[in-house]
Symmetry: C2
Subunit: 739 residues, 2 copies
């Protein structure tokens, strides 16, 4: 499945806001692309980035109007684009969605909503297993910590950001100045507009845009199917096609306790999609590496990805073993398990692409051409060498601290929600005392609401699970650094990883323990310490807070190294981007940054081992696939579907209803839940995955076999009507008579 | 479960005979021990190894007669010991067993037989899932490549081995001389006796014994229960107690096409075991590290175990994903999957023990005492330093090449049965041309039959699985060494890992492809090339053979480094052992070496979190456990058991039948399938696991909470009678009337 998006990071090493380890892994689910066509078309060189076929993740402030006109005879009016932008929704947990009614109804993927859905479960209510339909609006379930964003405006602030950084400044000082001006712009905007305001780094530092968002934090669950039909075929069919997934769910945004009235929402298309149709995707691709240099990609291939695979494999074993303990344990951990399984398949695909010598030769060739063209221009070479050489040295700086950075600052050594809360409190209190512009970026004033939403989440924590996660990650810490490393000895404090984890989790009072665990009930002191400030934090003897304090200096130190290197990279990339802008101009789109982008493509099948793969599947295919696999997990139907099967199979109209389809649209992880619309701007699909060939396409676009996979909205409607009898929901989606 | 045994290795780095990667991992399932009691009793120091409570894995040539007399009032007559030795069976695939009838019937664990059972399966016959009972002797199923050994005699050849090594020789030359004299002794013995003859290295090089075995290679499956009841509770209950596993199966040894007549077999005990009983375990513990030095244990903790965990986690994800594709894929890979899950839990436990600072402090203290005592004696210090210092330097030599050694010589980079066959052919042909004593040890003449049994196994290979394994391991190779490493580039030959794997597997003609895969049928040229010798091998264009050739020089080079270091270690350990012998004498037993040992202990419960755990479970407990877990996998009963459940639950006699029990006997991985006998030498149990507290006991014995877990033979009999109606089998086991 198209995993959740990455927030504000590049090359996987930038700091994240209030990132629990959970989130650190969810980030891994971002899909990346490495162009197959580079193998055969390395000579295209620079043209690669200038666009080919339906390539591009375009800024809404610079949509590809000429290309749409030229290639598809499509006139995208400003109102058409504005409507699509305002109807698009970002799931801040990492994903996309869209408004589908005037009353704030939001459509997204089941796997994007899964984190929220799972947290709403209890030992007596397994919403992942059984699904959910709110009988009335008052039955809609308020999520614990879900934030939705709608992009309201875009403003170019590149000049102001660049002007704040002295050309001759050391990397440390330059990074600080850049951070300060970005925080200043954001705070001004927040104060003036009341809107969430983020300065977004585009083109690896070539441009800075101010994005303002309308924000919703009261979000309620309306409908979710059983996870088994949302993710039919499970891990084996993940990233495959043909496919049969009802990967959808509905939330509703609320304001002041009432359903939010929204000015823009997408209308349900009256007809299903057909082969050859032009389609548009509006969503939030998380991260791509298309403009990265070869030295950055080598590091990705030989260092970061192998480390990520180690972590993902370890966690898949951990979560799998925990889930196997029993149905309740499975309920607690199933979301995490699905996340790491997805990440394993996605990361494997990216690594496979980068390990393809043909692909990498193409990347080297492309860069050689760029260097030849650019570095003969004398002004591109400073006493520090070319921008490419400076990036290579900066990457080496990152690589030297990469293991410690991931363990400490990304907190992979402390895989517990309690630790994430402890660190957020410790650092909030410390950072609050500083001027806004001097803080760690996630603690800036303009991000405070989002930070608090995560920190004070009501999601239940399960101590057995937290202890298992923490023991495992402390073991990984010792294995990575060696048990005699002074930091390891300090962290373990004379205990075994398991003993230390039990002690830390058992004594921590910084989270909401699951209600049913009355015996272990302890007070929840998050608010008390957060509000109490430095004095309260200093006086606390919470063991997890003490651990966060213990590793804070070293965590901040490695972060500083990485941020300084990142500053050097940004300056160098800015130079490269300026050079390319002058030649490619508007034909350039920036790498993905989990901000709103417009993509487009054609509904089209492809060839696999010489066989043609048609672009659209049906419900008939679903039942055939289940039968082919003997109805055994993960190819079994939920009870509701199994019971209705004879009736549905007897209905040719239902069996022929389109279910999933593919297109050539240029998407990546974070696009999960993106609306797919037709020329009329009507909703015809819901992106939920890319096929296996799209997995390796992090560094360039391809349309030979790479495809975006969507649920057909006619298929969703058919299931709501015939299987779930969700008549009120259907009436809200397609209010006009005759449908 | 108590995993399969390790063959002929120390510190996990010694070469193995014809080891496929599969076996390399199966080795990981060896259980190890780290003494909890060291935490509280570090001051016991040297006494540790001299025995405490029921400690010890004793040589049958030096049984602990005095201790048995002193502690248990037991007189073990020579005939009693001889009978037990001759009735004990080694499963050369890594496990233990015993003769239980005069007609060669062998009892072992289901999980020891699983590899053979799985290979007997076909797409239409899933013996792991459904179990098997031969209706008559002619229905018994001949295994593809199972070798059983019965220890016939033991001869001390220490003087001859040591005399062959010049005191002043360089490590290389010393290792070669040692290898040569061992091969010479073995070949002489084989020629004279016709028996399999192995020189076994004991006390880390302190002694050398010649073991002669009667060998059976025609072994047939008689009975196996469903894997679900053999491994009830699966991964979550693995290494736990209370426990409810029918972890048994029966094979029969054949000679000349007839059931083997065996002079010794164990009689079924007429009464079940009771708390407090003295019991004996005769089996083949695989590997322990009790005499290892601190520098060796640090390397185990910080280097080898983390690498093993990475490999195990990666393979668990790979095999799990492959199994999820469908029932047939699950059938093909389930044995491998169970193996790596078991290894993950076992390795985690060992690592947890070594990461316990208290445990490690105890180990350091013990060594400090030993060094103080020994190294003040001037003769223990040479110009190269003390034996401890020499071992530390040798360990550093091993550590420097450890990653490459595992990838290349242990073939973890080439995880395919086809590669294992290719290497075995390549090296057999090359080594055959050398004098016996100069060959790589696994190619010595005395091992030829065993080597050929593995190489020419009729087990079916599945190309999709082989390609998936190989692609994954080639990716691991690139990630470990970096994609630009010259060796990686040579191995991948300009292709991606996946592309290269498909090419290698698809083109290989060195194995038996699964029958049902007719389309891909290719000739099997194993015998042709093996018999054809150097000319045939040189002329072959088999791609896997070419790969084996490509990496052979570098593989042999790293092996040479490791073997030289091992020689230094052996000489140094021999010095330490001699010093200890003079002080401890017969109270010493050697570390485990997958050779026959005698252990003993008491049937006794223990305490867990303040609650007493009784030592014996019953069938009543099995049904209660299934019910508690909602009868969901892995706590579900096979159909046969579910159908009989009402009838069985109504029968109080059946419900009270003992099922599993624990004792304080000193066991480790490789002991799986060991017979447990009472004072009368009658069979009362079948070792199949240790509890979680025994997992960390690689370096010393403990009887506080560490326990060996066995299936009660009365429980086996009850299942055979009531559930499987295996009346002929029962009659063969308990032939006398009135039972």
């Amino acid at each position: 499945m198209q995993g959740a998006g990455r927030r504000g990071g590049q090359a996987g090493t930038l700091p994240k806001s209030h990132a629990s380890n959970l989130f650190a892994l969810r980030m891994c689910t971002v899909m990346r692309n490495v162009a197959k066509w580079l193998v055969v078309a390395g000579s295209l060189g620079l043209a690669a980035a200038a666009g080919r076929g339906d390539e591009g993740m375009w800024l809404f402030s610079a949509p590809p109007l000429d290309r749409l006109r030229r290639d598809h005879g499509m006139e995208a009016a400003p109102t058409w684009i504005e409507h699509l932008q305002q109807a698009s929704v970002r799931f801040n947990s990492g994903g996309s969605g869209s408004f589908v009614s005037a009353d704030g109804l939001v459509l997204t993927n089941h796997h994007v909503g899964a984190d929220a859905i799972q947290k709403l479960g209890t030992p007596d209510r397994d919403l992942m297993r059984d699904g959910f339909l709110a009988a009335t609006r008052s039955d809609e379930l308020a999520c614990h910590d879900l934030e939705l964003n709608v992009l309201v405006s875009i403003e170019d602030v590149t000049d102001r950001v660049q002007a704040a950084v002295q050309p001759a400044a050391e990397a440390d000082a330059a990074a600080a100045a850049r951070r300060a001006v970005m925080a200043e712009i954001e705070k001004e905007s927040l104060t003036a507009s009341g809107l969430r305001s983020d300065v977004v780094t585009l083109y690896q530092g070539g441009a800075y845009h101010l994005y303002r968002y309308r924000k919703f934090t009261d979000v309620r669950l309306v409908f979710a199917p059983e996870q088994r039909i949302a993710f039919f075929g499970g891990d084996p069919d993940n990233f495959e096609f043909p496919r049969y997934n009802l990967d959808c769910c509905f939330f509703r945004a609320y304001e002041n306790g009432q359903p939010a009235r929204v000015p823009h929402h997408l209308a349900w298309a009256p007809r299903p999609v057909a082969a050859g149709d032009l389609v548009f995707v509006s969503g939030h691709p998380g991260h791509t590496d298309r403009a990265n240099t070869v030295s950055e990609l080598e590091s990705l291939r030989d260092r970061l990805l192998p480390l990520q695979m180690q972590a993902v494999n370890r966690l898949e074993a951990l979560y799998g073993a925990y889930a196997a303990r029993g149905p309740e344990e499975r309920r607690q951990v199933v979301g995490d398990l699905l996340g790491v399984q997805n990440a394993r398949k996605a990361r494997t695909g990216v690594l496979a692409g980068l390990l393809d010598p043909g692909v990498f030769a193409g990347l080297r060739h492309r860069e050689a051409q760029l260097r030849n063209g650019m570095c003969t221009a004398a002004d591109a070479t400073t006493p520090d060498g070319t921008p490419f050489e400076r990036i290579e040295r900066a990457q080496a700086d990152v690589d030297r601290v990469l293991v410690r950075y991931r363990l400490l600052e990304s907190a992979q050594a402390f895989n517990s929600n309690y630790f994430a809360n402890a660190r957020a409190i410790l650092r909030s209190v410390a950072e609050r005392a500083k001027p806004d512009g001097e803080r760690l970026r996630e603690y800036r004033d303009s991000n405070r609401d989002s930070l608090e939403l995560g920190l004070f989440s009501d999601k239940p924590l399960y101590d057995a699970l937290e202890a298992a996660k923490l023991a495992d990650s402390l073991t990984a810490l010792a294995s990575a650094l060696g048990a005699d490393d002074p930091l390891v000895a300090t962290v373990l404090a004379g205990k075994s990883p398991r003993g230390r984890a039990v002690e830390l989790v058992g004594g921590c009072e910084l989270g909401r323990r699951a209600d049913h665990d009355e015996a272990a009930a302890r007070p929840d002191r998050r608010r008390e310490l957060y509000d109490g400030g430095a004095a309260a934090v200093a006086a606390s003897d919470d063991p997890m807070l003490a651990l966060a304090r213990l590793v804070d200096d070293e965590s901040r130190a490695v972060r500083k190294v990485v941020e300084a290197a990142q500053e050097v990279k940004q300056q160098s990339h800015a130079e490269i981007t300026r050079w390319r802008f002058e030649r490619e101009g508007a034909a350039m789109y920036p790498d993905a940054t989990f901000t709103l982008r417009l993509a487009y493509g054609t509904v089209r099948g492809y060839e696999e081992d010489g066989r043609p793969i048609p672009p659209i599947t049906t419900y008939g295919g679903l039942f055939a696939r289940a039968r082919e696999k003997g109805d055994t997990p993960p190819f079994d139907l939920p009870p509701r579907w199994a019971a209705l099967r004879p009736e549905l199979e007897a209905d040719a109209g239902f069996m022929d209803t389109p279910f999933n389809f593919v297109s050539t649209a240029d998407i990546i992880g974070g696009n999960s839940g993106s609306p797919v619309v037709n020329r009329a701007g009507e909703l015809i699909g819901l992106i939920f995955d890319g096929n296996i060939h799209s997995l390796v396409l992090d560094v360039a676009y391809d349309d030979t076999r790479a495809r975006a996979i969507a649920v057909d909205t006619q298929g969703i409607l058919a299931a709501l009507r015939r299987v779930y009898r969700a008549h009120d929901l259907v009436a809200e989606l397609v209010p006009s008579p005759g449908r």
